[in-house]
Symmetry: C2
Subunit: 348 residues, 2 copies
DNA sequence: TTGAAAGCGCTAACAT
DNA sequence: ATGTTAGCGCTTTCAA
């Protein structure tokens, strides 16, 4: 359809969306010049660009992203899937995943990508074909390891779908990003040792699907050995939530030979344990030292505030995005740091 | 281009995306039948549909959402903008907004919409023309009231952009959704009174941009009066964060005539205040009763765990989505409930 | 119930 | 530096 025909149609009174043809007519240039000017191509002279921009503003014109992306072939969008517990509501989501989601959105934006976010939990409704549907250029998967069918689903997807990245574990060999768990565990153990503790226990399941816990235990063992101390077998507690698991583990620990220091595989468990300790009247850090992992904000207000190992969230988001987009990206270990609060007594 | 031509091109060895034409050929039907079958239109016979679906599966075909939406005119997407502090990182975001974000995404999904999420903070980079760009059918704005330029930006947008919804306040008359603050305040005051407290103070700024705090104070005043008690002027504390403001307010309160009960306009402030109280050796709920507002998860692990007024998050998300989409939707007050924890002593 | 044809609004290849 | 033209892949008339 020519510009002339469109004009006639418009003048006939039909309500239409303003298109680049309308802008072209108003600016006295061709439609493709409008496209180039608004896309910021260098071949357009400053004067032409100004005229086009003004005409666009006057008409309230915005580029239709669907048409632009259909034609250009890309989407400039990254899909972020947050896996949650089956049947669970948003209140039950570990705040760690929210923080990670936030930094991933920010990292995507920094690279000029938009973020399409879905929370997925029910096995029969899992969906990850965002790239095939041209809804996104890549897919990032984060969330709870407790929902096995969901991880399985996305792991399978990644077999014939290169542009994916997983937090923790999943997908093909080179598609995961996770914390520097060995380093984190070392930081935790060294801090407890500095406080004078020698009998230090690790809390968290090590053989399960939360592969990062296994790494944290491995790091704990290495660090203990390096300090000339004997690593203890990992302690676990059963419960629906991490919180409950932490309480249960704490209860079990207090029944036996009491350790001087405790390294929890995640803050959520440590927080539950702290509650149990307080109820039992056991003083932290006086009677026992506690270190967590994840850098949860809640730890800042717990009793006492929780010393923890925190991944650099900003980097975590950036790495997820670049692994998802580039596939060739190599850095996949997120640096960690010790956040000193008050659940371990001062170094001697 | 005819089906025949496409076939020739494909056989010439050119790598192309699988299209509905390919599926049509394989299924032995026309391209439009493929479209109809996959869209689930009722006019297609079961046998035809099965053949099409099988061909699609065999070829790994998925509908290109850009093309489908360009043609059909919709986007089936809702943009969610989370306003954050200028220069702030994800760690500083109030977890309340994350929970609200989660429930809004869930509500959008329940209505068949996808969620395009952006975190926005810097004044020069604010963007909300998602509808004009045909990136979304509606825009929902949530986040911190502390970023004035951002709220101003989106409020302006809503003047000529009907499909918007704001959490708290903003936009045109009928575009906001917020907690039932009057009811929430009443719940809080009644609980403190039940514990035997009579001198009850309210903490939070009432004349500011956080309009909900004003409503909570109003509700506090009404509830106090209804109980035959004298409302006190609102107490505020200065600080960068809500946490700091809570501490400062607490410090100020302790300098004067000590109240028996405290109602905080938000949990984040209450949590800061609780820390200060603990440091000063003042027992909660023994020496003073505390109630917050927001239902923050952190409150479950504070010292003591924080009794709070919680909005029904699932409903909050649903209301935001339906206000954004329908414009005519009427229900905009989110019901609240009292979450009993341990910062107020048992009713007498 | 299905097929043929039009065209959504844009970008990019090819002209000039 | 700009105009002309083709066509991205689909949904939706219109016809049969």
């Amino acid at each position: 359809m020519s510009t002339r025909e469109r004009t006639v149609q418009a003048e006939a009174g039909e309500r239409r969306r303003v298109t680049s043809f309308d802008v072209a007519e108003r600016a006295g240039v061709s439609q493709s010049t409008v496209s180039r000017a608004l896309a910021g191509l260098e071949t357009i002279t400053a004067a032409t660009r100004r005229r086009v921009e003004e005409a666009a503003r006057e008409l309230g014109y915005f580029v239709d992203s669907r048409a632009a992306r259909l034609r250009s072939g890309d989407t400039r969008t990254i899909a972020i899937v947050v896996i949650t517990r089956e049947g669970g509501d948003v209140r039950a989501i570990n705040p760690f995943h929210f923080t990670l989601l936030g930094s991933t959105c920010a990292a995507a934006a920094a690279r000029g990508f938009e973020a399409l976010v879905t929370f997925q939990s029910e096995p029969e409704q899992l969906f990850g074909r965002f790239v095939e549907e041209r809804r996104a250029d890549a897919v990032i998967v984060i969330g709870t390891t407790a929902n096995l069918p969901a991880w399985e689903h996305f792991r399978n997807l990644s077999e014939d779908q290169p542009n994916m990245a997983f937090w923790g574990v999943g997908g093909e060999e080179n598609e995961w990003v996770r914390s520097d768990n060995l380093q984190g565990a070392q930081l935790a153990v060294e801090r407890l040792v500095a406080a004078g503790h020698r009998r230090i226990a690790f809390v968290g399941e090590t053989g399960g699907h939360q592969l990062q816990f296994g790494e944290r235990y491995e790091g704990y063992c290495r660090a203990m050995t390096a300090q000339g101390l004997a690593p203890l077998p990992p302690v676990t507690g059963t419960g629906e939530t991490r919180d409950g698991q932490g309480r249960a583990a704490m209860e079990a620990i207090l029944k036996g030979d009491r350790p001087e220091g405790l390294f929890f595989a995640c803050d959520a468990m440590a927080l539950g344990a702290l509650d149990h300790l307080a109820q039992r009247g056991i003083d932290v850090p006086g009677d026992i030292g506690v270190v967590g992992f994840d850098g949860l904000g809640s730890g800042a207000h717990s009793h006492p505030p929780l010393t923890t190992v925190e991944p650099e969230f900003a980097l975590a988001g950036e790495m997820l995005v670049s692994v998802a987009l580039d596939a060739g990206s190599s850095e996949r270990r997120v640096p960690v740091r010790l956040v000193e609060r008050r659940s371990v007594r001062a170094p001697r």
